[in-house]
Amino acid sequence: MGDSTGRRIVWIDTVDPDDALARTGAKMGRLAEMARDGLSIPLAFAVTIDGFREHVAETGLDETIDRHLDGMDADDSTAVEVAAEAIRASFRETAISPALAEEIEEAYEELSDRCSDLNVPVAVRSSATGEDSSDASFAGIFDTYLGISGAQATLNAVRDCWASLFTTRAVDYRLKRGISHSDMPMAVGVVELVHARASGVAFSVHPVTGKSDRIVIEANWGWGEAVVQGLVTPDHVEVGKADGRILKHDVSRKDIVSAFDFAAGVVVEIPMPTRLRERACLDEEQISAIAAAVLEIESRYGYPVDVEWVVSRHRRPGEPVSIVQSRPVTTAVEQASPSAYDPMVLAQKYIFSAR
């Protein structure tokens, strides 16, 4: 068992959740909080922010970064792009120090053992501080690699995640806001890849109308990437919060599925097999389990959340679904559904304001 209070590596199920946000970034920090709260989350460890800082300091990457960005004109988009690309190249070319590499490899082996697997496939996820805060500008712009298998591949993926801190968009954003890159260090999570029968996202408030009396679930067969990236029109489910009734279940034609390519060792997007294309990918029991998890997370945090969930191939009815990510909802202004009938208010709203 690894040292959960380790400086450079921590295990998400044993790290003190109160320290986790600061040490492992927003994404992995929330996962640690959910682990504490008894939600079903996959096994995971994180390369901490300290690990990242040590890496950039020891290898001289921080000087490289400063050299590229010093005196950069935020409005010179070409220069920003060139610098960002150069920094990312440096990250990919710079080997991880043997000590840290060894710790990551050991942790990976341990994760495989805990999953009763060899070279267990994992999701390697960027987890920057502030990434998922109510300022959503960074949401989703750092890399995630699904289906990485083997210690060396994991090390490479960790480096790629670090490098994604310097995408053109991220650099541009920080320059324009006057945020130093050193104020935004990045942890990386290495998370057991749950064998997904179906996955997707769920919102504890309607993401478009802002109605807070329902949970909205979007689902596809396989892994959730096709849904998150908007490559597929997912099945759409709405569940009433008060009584858990399914209000709406629109089964769409799902043309793309994110599936695990065993030969390449990654999750890839492929055409959906015909037999699954127009079939509902969730049943009522699974929908209830997703809704229960979303309600639990929202009540723990006290604000609307969106959640990435997975129904594992090994899940049996009655068991919880796996939650692989959660964050505050930042898109919609919360709006109550009408719960009383006031003809005058309605008339004002729908008739007299029309002109």
Binding site: G240, A242, D243, K248, S339, Y341, A347, I351
Partner: protein, 577 residues
């Protein structure tokens, strides 16, 4: 660039030959009724469907008492925040109406403040309010029906005429006093359902399946149909023109006169009803039973009887199913609001009232004025009783009060008959709208009742650009598909000639058209929204209906084979006649 339809042809000071109104001719609440002037071109006017025949001089009183008093009175007293009611003009003998908008947001806000508590009070006490108004109208009715105009003196008739006018005017205060808040409640509920993501085409169903006085009348007509068949009179009905049926049956004796006794009993209760809305020029069934007999005649010809019990039970079941289905899509919170909204709109039921009130008001309250006017004409030596309907109010009262002789008006009356006939012929080609056509109409009354939606506006603006139109689209007002022979009606005069399976094509329908829905296979209207008469009755009778197609009566010819799709709101001309 707004489209402007010129009013030039209709600009005149003269209402009919020989009549220019004095200043303050008739009382009005916000704006007076008058003829068109050039200035009116800046506003939007639509041809009113209520009077497809056109209005006689005395008939124009409805414009004064109904639109320019009743709607304005009610809209100002509620008050209706965004509008002050309707104002009207005439082009020849045809009425055009226009909404009077409140422009200032400040005023709209203040009016809304005033309306709030009144609306709540009205809805909470709707049953009592409508019952008391209905009683008032019925009390007035008893007052007049007890009179015997044929045996009254001219001064007595003068008094009757003036009382009848007061009664008429008051009836339309009541009409709009009830209609506006019901409509507001309905439309608020409609908006709420739309925002909850419900299928708004189902909303009519939530409120259907409640019996009205008009439906009651239709049931009685079917009872008479059954009785005629049982008495072996089917053959007589099949071979006698409707206009001669009464005398023929009376002359038959036996089964024929027995049936006529039954029919007259029916008329005593249901026969004070005109073949059209709000028009003093129209006789009641009591005066001329041809329309009622014609309806029974075509019911007899219909192989299958319209089963009212079954249709009502089906409507109720459909209502409950629609409500359950809508509820299942709502959160518990939404269900609370929805249930309260359904309860409120069922208790103060706009679509129901839209049909029911016609029995008490629209088809009835002009009759006392008609009786008095005709009796005055007879008493004063007119060529025919109807000449009384070709006088304007100041003229008729002057005759009744002995200040003017009927003789002195005879040549004018003759000219006015000709004038009426000329404009009556022109009805099918009257412009559907006049003045400045807006980009969009926002007034809910205009959209939901008159059907002046975006589609209608587009359709009428495109008029004339292609004469080869095969497909029309409009409001899918009542579901289902039907194909049949088109029967194009510009008014209700020959409605009883409709045959089972026909597709009725018209400007719009009124309550007197209701029995036709038991015969026709489909209905197409130029105007009318989801809450128009045709839409409501089409749903009650299960007749596929498309409203607001714009130019159905122009594009579709008598005898064309057409298909009506009430699900998509399309009407297709399959084969030209």
């Amino acid at each position: 660039m707004a489209t402007i339809v010129s009013v030039d042809e209709f600009v005149t000071d003269e209402w009919y030959p020989g009549f220019k109104p004095a200043f303050e001719h008739a009382p009005y609440y916000v704006e007076p009724f008058r003829t068109f002037n050039k200035e009116d071109e800046k506003r939007f006017w639509f041809l009113d469907f209520h009077w497809p025949r056109g209005l006689t001089p005395l008939g124009l009183i409805w414009n004064e008492d109904g639109y320019n008093w009743g709607t304005q009175f009610a809209a100002e007293n509620l008050p209706l925040p965004p509008g002050r009611g309707l104002v009207s003009r005439i082009a020849g003998i045809h009425t055009y109406a226009s909404p009077i908008d409140v422009q200032s947001p400040y005023e709209i806000g203040e009016r809304a403040q005033r309306m709030g508590p009144r609306l709540g009070e009205f809805l909470a006490n709707f049953d009592e309010i409508w019952a008391s108004r209905r009683d008032e109208v019925e009390r007035g009715w008893q007052h007049f029906v007890a009179m015997d105009p044929a045996n009254m003196s001219l001064p007595e008739l003068s008094t009757m005429l003036k009382e009848a006018r007061a009664y008429h005017k008051r009836a339309f205060e009541i009409h709009f006093e009830i209609m506006y808040p019901l409509l507001v409640n309905y439309l608020g509920f409609y908006g709420m359902c739309a925002e909850m993501g419900l299928d708004v085409s189902q909303i009519g169903k939530f409120l259907q399946g409640y019996d009205t006085k008009i439906m009651e009348t239709d049931r009685e007509l079917w009872k008479l149909t059954r009785a005629a068949k049982q008495a072996g009179l089917a053959e007589v009905f099949a071979t006698t023109p409707a206009s001669e049926l009464a005398s023929k049956l009376d002359a038959m004796g036996g089964a024929g006169s027995a049936w006529m006794t039954q029919f007259r009993d029916f008329l005593q209760v249901y026969g004070y009803r005109t073949e059209g809305s709000c028009d003093v020029a129209l006789p009641s069934w009591n005066e001329d039973p041809t329309p009622a007999l014609g309806t029974i005649q075509s019911f007899i010809a219909k192989e299958e009887e319209h089963d009212f019990e079954k249709a009502l039970a089906a409507a109720i079941e459909e209502r409950e199913t629609a409500i359950d289905e809508a509820r299942s899509k709502l959160t518990a919170e939404e269900q609370t609001a929805f249930d309260a909204g359904v309860a409120s709109c069922q208790a103060a039921n706009f679509p129901w009232w839209q049909d029911d009130h016609n029995y008490y008001i629209d088809l009835k309250v002009s009759l006392p004025m008609r009786w008095a006017a005709r009796a005055i004409a007879e008493k004063t030596g007119a060529d025919q009783p109807d000449d009384g309907l070709f006088l304007f109010w100041p003229e008729l009262t002057a005759v009744a009060d002995g200040e003017k002789s009927m003789d002195s008006l005879k040549s004018i009356v003759k000219a006015r008959h000709d004038y009426f006939d000329y404009w009556h012929e022109r009805r099918p080609s009257m412009p559907k709208v006049l003045g400045t056509i807006p980009e969009a109409v926002t007034d809910p009354v205009l959209i939901e009742i008159f059907g002046l939606n975006q589609h209608f506006l587009t359709a009428i603006q495109a008029a004339g650009s292609d004469s080869d139109v095969k497909t029309l689209t409009g409001v899918p007002a009542s579901k289902g598909k039907a194909r049949g022979r088109a029967r194009v009606f510009n008014n209700a005069d020959n409605l009883h000639t409709l045959e089972p399976g026909d597709i009725l094509v018209c400007e719009s329908t009124s309550p007197n058209w209701t029995p036709a829905f038991a015969k026709i296979a489909g209905c197409v209207c130029d105007g009318g929204g989801m809450l128009s008469h045709a839409a409501i009755v089409g749903r009650e009778y299960g007749v596929p209906t498309v409203t607001a197609v714009g130019l159905g009566t122009v594009v579709i010819a008598e005898g064309d084979e057409v298909e009506v799709d009430g699900d998509t709101g399309t009407v297709t001309v399959i084969k030209k006649a």
